[in-house]
């Protein structure tokens, strides 16, 4: 198992000391080297676009790319999550934009490009959009399908909602997006909890979990942890009604107490709504859920993990509990290992970020892998959430990818499984340094990316050893020349005149395995006529080929 942990702040921002909290992550399933991440990170150059973090090397290095609309001075963005389509390379975003706090659903087909993400939906009175996306490869046209859990106050008190599109990649705004209200019980709390979490199986089975507030006192709620399911991509007249009485979903837990504390409740962090759900990519009936609650407001805030093996109809007892835990995040890899990421306050003064990986559904409790173990009292919070109301874990193949925020003191002891800082830092003096690599910089909260490669298949023996001191020269990324069709020289004159010229028709791919063909704007047109070879003649030329942009 290979663990890699990277402080994502680029070297060029070594002087920053922002509270880069509430991180999220999107790994392109079509090319896991391409990763986008988000946090409450301001644009260092100001302006009306907030940045996302981008990596094109699997998370080893990161840069900022300001493409998120709505930034204002000192407030880059409200809640933000992003995800890639399954094979489309399209990145989708759900944000509360900073200037209006409206829900915006966003899209870009070039996560690393400089163009601002396209706004597909803009709507007021929303909270905590949580994006999940895939490409429906078994559906004609292989459309991208996007599901965004969010809390829609336009439908209060039934606020738990999913915003979904069944063909999100190409169509103009709103690209098929529209809200579906999930809640049916008119919660006594006047709304549902902020966390609405979808998870997608490639068969079209969608689960959505939320926290149904049955009562709300201002500092505490009584709630049910609810799961609804749909077996056909959320389509049909009564979507998400596959399980539960009347199709209204199943309570995983009922009458739990959840403190609602927008104050320093655990360390300097607030609590109120922590929830995660994930379906096994190889078994659409195996699904895990995690949430946090407490028996009494002053008691230990505790994460619970449970499993259903019958498609969410019934749920087992707690498989794992973590006292003083927040930010549960679940993922299942391609061979069924379940990953459980969380943060826990230990000793009253230390935030530890753990991941547990189980190959037997937690039948035997796995030893937690400690990703970070940092002071909880420094730096002083500048706003809440301190670390974030969520972190994220996902899996591609047999590799887990995740992101969390933590105190960034460059101390090896804080990262017992290692860490790489891109920003300047001296681990001997345990001091952050500015871009001049000399001026001290204050400790702050940074986002940390990690990957855990379950399967390593290294060569048995190194064939060569790069000599010491010879490093590959550093070279700036070359920006490719403008898109231009290749022009093949003058047409070869056929000996025999070919059949009539006709435009090229790009047939639908027979085997759309990887990557599928997606239109490239502008609309496709034949660049040059293509001649086909006629019936076999005594002497027949082979015609030149010319490139065409696809339809």
């Amino acid at each position: 198992m290979k663990i890699s942990i990277v402080n994502m702040i680029p070297k060029s921002l070594s002087g920053e000391s922002n509270q880069d909290s509430e991180p999220n992550l999107a790994v392109n399933p079509n090319n896991p080297l391409q990763i986008a991440a988000t946090a409450f990170t301001p644009n260092p150059t100001g302006g009306t676009l907030a940045p996302i973090f981008i990596s094109s090397d699997g998370g080893a290095t990161w840069a900022l790319n300001a493409i998120v609309p709505g930034a204002t001075a000192g407030f880059p963005t409200g809640d933000i999550t992003t995800k890639f389509g399954g094979t489309s390379n399209v990145l989708y975003g759900g944000i509360l934009r900073a200037d209006t706090l409206h829900l915006n659903v966003l899209r870009t087909n070039n996560y690393a490009g400089s163009a601002a993400m396209t706004v597909l939906v803009d709507r007021a009175s929303e909270d905590q959009p949580w994006v999940q996306a895939t490409t429906a490869t078994a559906v004609a046209g292989t459309p991208d399908r996007v599901y965004i859990g969010h809390n829609d106050f336009n439908t209060s008190p039934n606020t738990a909602t999913v915003e979904q599109s069944l063909n999100a990649a190409a169509a103009p705004a709103p690209a098929g997006f529209g809200p579906i209200t999930l809640e049916t019980t008119s919660p006594g709390g006047g709304q549902d909890g902020p966390s609405i979490r979808p998870t997608i199986h490639s068969s079209g089975r969608i689960y959505i979990a939320w926290i149904d507030w049955t009562t709300f006192t201002g500092t505490s709620t009584t709630a049910n942890i609810v799961v609804r399911r749909d077996d056909n991509w959320g389509t049909g007249g009564t979507p998400y009604s596959a399980i539960g009485t009347g199709g209204k979903g199943v309570n995983v837990a009922s009458g739990v107490t959840i403190p609602w504390q927008n104050a320093h409740f655990l360390g300097q962090e607030r609590v109120g709504s922590h929830l995660s759900i994930v379906v096994d990519p190889n078994n659409s009936s195996r699904v895990f859920i995690a949430w946090a609650d407490t028996p009494v407001v002053s008691g230990p805030y505790t994460i619970h993990v449970r499993q259903s093996i019958d498609g969410g109809v019934t749920w087992g007892a707690d498989l794992r509990t973590v006292a003083n835990g927040i930010n549960p995040a679940l993922a299942i890899d391609s061979v069924g290992n379940i990953g459980f990421l969380y943060q826990t306050l230990t000793g009253g003064n230390t935030w530890e970020t753990h991941i547990e990986i189980s190959n037997n559904s937690f039948a035997t409790p796995p030893t937690p892998i400690v990703l970070a173990k940092v002071p909880s009292n420094t730096p002083v919070a500048t706003f809440l959430p301190y670390l974030g109301d969520y972190i994220y874990l996902t899996a591609i193949g047999e590799t887990f990818y995740g992101v969390f925020s933590a105190n960034n003191t460059p101390n090896s002891a804080n990262f017992p499984n290692g860490v790489t800082y891109l920003r300047n830092a001296n681990f001997t003096t345990q001091q952050l340094l500015n871009v001049d690599n000399a001026t001290p910089v204050n400790v702050s909260i940074d986002p940390f990316f990690f990957s855990i490669q379950e399967l390593t298949f290294p060569p048995i023996r190194p064939i060569i050893t790069p000599p010491i001191g010879i490093q590959p020269p550093i070279k700036p990324v070359i920006v490719s020349p403008p898109i231009k069709p290749v022009i093949i020289g003058p047409p070869i004159k056929p000996v025999i005149v070919s059949p009539p010229i006709r435009p090229v028709i790009v047939s639908p791919p027979v085997h759309p395995i990887e990557p599928p063909i997606h239109p490239i704007e502008p609309p496709i047109r034949a660049i040059a006529p293509i001649k086909t070879i006629g019936p076999v003649q005594p002497v027949e030329p082979v015609e030149p080929i010319e490139p065409q942009k696809p339809k």
Binding site: F457, I517, I545
Partner: protein, 615 residues
């Protein structure tokens, strides 16, 4: 009866057992002798932390010998290490977390060695054997020294690849606490030596054993070689899995099993690649029979509940294409395999590898210039290498390969040609590293350095930080050497752009060149290698037929023959081929052509065996 302990010390991978001592344990059992195996490597990782251990294995160049250095620091106290530490700091990019962790780890070596005495219950054993390969020398020497200091009567025996040839003799000569060295294959010599010792007989004449009975370190006779590989027992990995199960690192370690289906190199026996020093004095190729390999895979998989196997063979037996691989395909035992392999494979062979569960390969690609490949006596051409890269991509077989340079006789034009090839294959797997050849002991480049134009041969500079001995002694202990060229060349000058482009290749593997079959056109080549562009090349009729014909490399003559049979004009065919080459849809080398577009439908026909732990 003597009690024997075999130790596997740092630094080696934690994720696989030591096959050498595991095989010896099984051989000892065959001879009625008992021994145990201990994993000092795992214990050290527990002692210092998995991550610091991993830094030495994965993050630091092997040419730094950092693992050896930290044990040398303990073994030879009082030396000035400031120069080494400064170099290490530079190597790790300054005062990074890695640098701090490595220094902290070095401080724990003494306490670790002391703890080993208890952990491995050294007092209970009469003989302690150490296996040493690559960076295990100093850790083994350090613990052996401590054992001898505390228990002078215990016998210390060294074996492993670091004991082959003059290296074994120098180890024995320089380190008096080593009683015996088993040099070369020890399947017979080690049990024979233990039997003699057990009987209190002098180990006279045991082939492969170095002793100092005459006052000097002396090899009694060349070691026996195993001729019939089928007669070897299955390695006994029980101690490894028991150690993992009891370890605090059990959560971190994902074990794979090792299998040795062959020794030596059948290609090397015919044409020794000039840079390769892997086979020492045992180049003769010997392979287990297909039935034996298959049954061993089944037995070991069932015994340890693991289906992932790494073959330690230097090269896969060609016979396995006839027997073992079809057997694995047909019986489908749920096993996945890694092999090193010669790269001149055909489609049918790559497909068979995939169907047999060979999930990962290390092919001997080494270069994209046929001239350079000839210089290194590789026995393949550049276009064959590219064919393999494309076929492995099509069948979803992971490959690891390196692009080597610095071969005497190579020319700047070789790398200009390499650049042209790279420009056409950016959609295929990039090399892991682009690096100059290392001069290894036992390689033709080392043995015949002057003949190859290599001069001023001396051990890698970091060896001097490990051994406080005269230069000739350090040279005898060394395996890696540096050199200069007799013609004064500096390959970096003509390779720089290849290095740059290979870096870009690795970083930007986003584009693709794939085949899409349909009705009109019959075949579209979709090219997204140019960033931001998506070009479709429709091929019809004979165009499609020719392109598919070049799925495996074809000569111009055979292409023209095909075209002629369809009544096509040869001039237009050549022009068509020129177009394909210019647009990087086809690779041409000499009069041979190879289609470059990937047929992504191949992967679906049968997926490779899933790599799931059987337990």
């Amino acid at each position: 009866m003597l009690k024997v302990l075999l130790l596997n010390m740092p630094f080696v991978s934690l994720e696989r057992p030591a096959i050498g001592i595991s095989l010896l344990k099984a051989r000892m059992a065959e001879e009625g002798l008992h021994c145990s195996a201990g994993y000092g490597s795992l214990f050290f990782a527990e002692w210092v932390g998995y991550w610091p251990y991993e830094i030495v294995l994965d993050r630091i160049s092997a040419a730094m010998f950092t693992g050896d250095w930290m044990f040398s620091k303990w073994l030879f106290p009082g030396r000035d290490h400031s120069a080494y530490v400064a170099t290490l700091r530079d190597h790790l990019g300054g005062d990074t977390a890695e640098f701090a962790a490595v220094l902290a780890m070095a401080e724990k070596v003494g306490s670790f060695l002391e703890a080993c005495l208890d952990r491995f219950e050294i007092g209970k054993f009469d003989v302690v054997g150490f296996t040493t390969t690559f960076e295990q020398n100093l850790s083994s020497l350090a613990l052996a020294r401590l054992i001898k200091d505390r228990h002078p009567k215990k016998l210390i025996i060294f074996g492993g690849a670091n004991c082959e040839g003059v290296m074994g003799q120098e180890l024995h000569r320089r380190f008096p606490w080593i009683d015996y060295v088993c040099s070369g294959e020890a399947d017979n010599s080690f049990p024979a030596l233990v039997k003699r010792l057990d009987a209190a007989e002098p180990p006279d004449g045991v082939p492969g054993v170095i002793d100092r009975r005459s006052g000097a370190s002396r090899l009694a006779a060349p070691p026996d070689r195993i001729h019939d590989m089928d007669r070897l027992p299955d390695p006994d990995y029980d101690d490894y899995f028991q150690a993992i199960a009891a370890s605090s690192l059990a959560q971190r370690v994902r074990p794979a099993l090792l299998i040795e289906s062959a020794r030596g190199c059948w290609w090397g026996a015919k044409s020794h690649c000039t840079f390769c020093g892997l086979n020492g004095s045992t180049m003769t190729f010997r392979a287990k029979s297909a039935g034996r390999v298959y049954s061993e895979l089944e037995r070991q998989s069932a015994r340890y509940g693991i289906g992932r196997f790494l073959a330690v063979d230097n090269i896969m037996s060609y016979h396995y294409f006839r027997d073992l691989l079809p057997m694995l395909k047909e019986r489908n035992p749920g096993i996945s395999l890694f092999y090193e392999i010669k790269s001149n494979l055909k489609r049918s062979q790559v497909e068979l590898l995939r169907d047999a569960g060979v999930w990962s390969l290390q092919p001997g690609v080494e270069s994209l210039s046929s001239h350079v490949l000839r210089l290194m006596r590789k026995g393949v051409s550049a276009i064959q290498n590219v064919q393999l890269l494309r076929l492995c991509r099509e069948y979803g077989i992971e490959i690891a390969w390196n692009l080597l340079y610095g071969f005497p006789g190579e020319t700047p034009e070789d790398y200009a040609e390499t650049l042209r090839t790279i420009a056409a294959i950016s959609h295929l797997k990039a090399p892991g590293v682009v690096a100059p050849i290392r001069l290894d002991r036992f390689s033709p480049n080392y043995d015949e350095a002057e003949h190859f134009g290599l001069v001023t041969v001396k051990p890698f500079p970091m060896y001097r930080h490990l051994y406080p001995f005269p230069p000739e002694s350090v040279a005898n202990l060394s395996y890696f050497f540096e050199y200069k060229y007799s013609d004064g060349r500096d390959p970096e000058k003509y390779v720089a752009e290849v290095r740059n482009q290979a870096q870009e290749w690795k970083k930007n593997q986003n584009g693709d060149l794939i085949k899409l079959y349909g009705s009109d056109p019959e075949l579209a080549l979709v090219d997204t290698r140019q960033q931001g562009a998506e070009l479709h090349y429709p091929l019809h009729g004979l165009q499609r037929e020719i392109y598919d014909f070049c799925d495996e490399m074809q000569t111009l003559a055979s292409i023209l023959e095909l075209a002629a049979a369809r009544g096509a004009d040869p001039v237009s065919v050549e022009l068509f081929l020129d177009q394909l080459v210019k647009t990087k849809l086809m690779l041409r080398e000499g009069n041979q052509y190879l289609a470059l577009a990937v047929d992504t439908s191949r992967r679906l026909k049968s997926q490779p065996t899933p790599l799931r732990l059987a337990s």
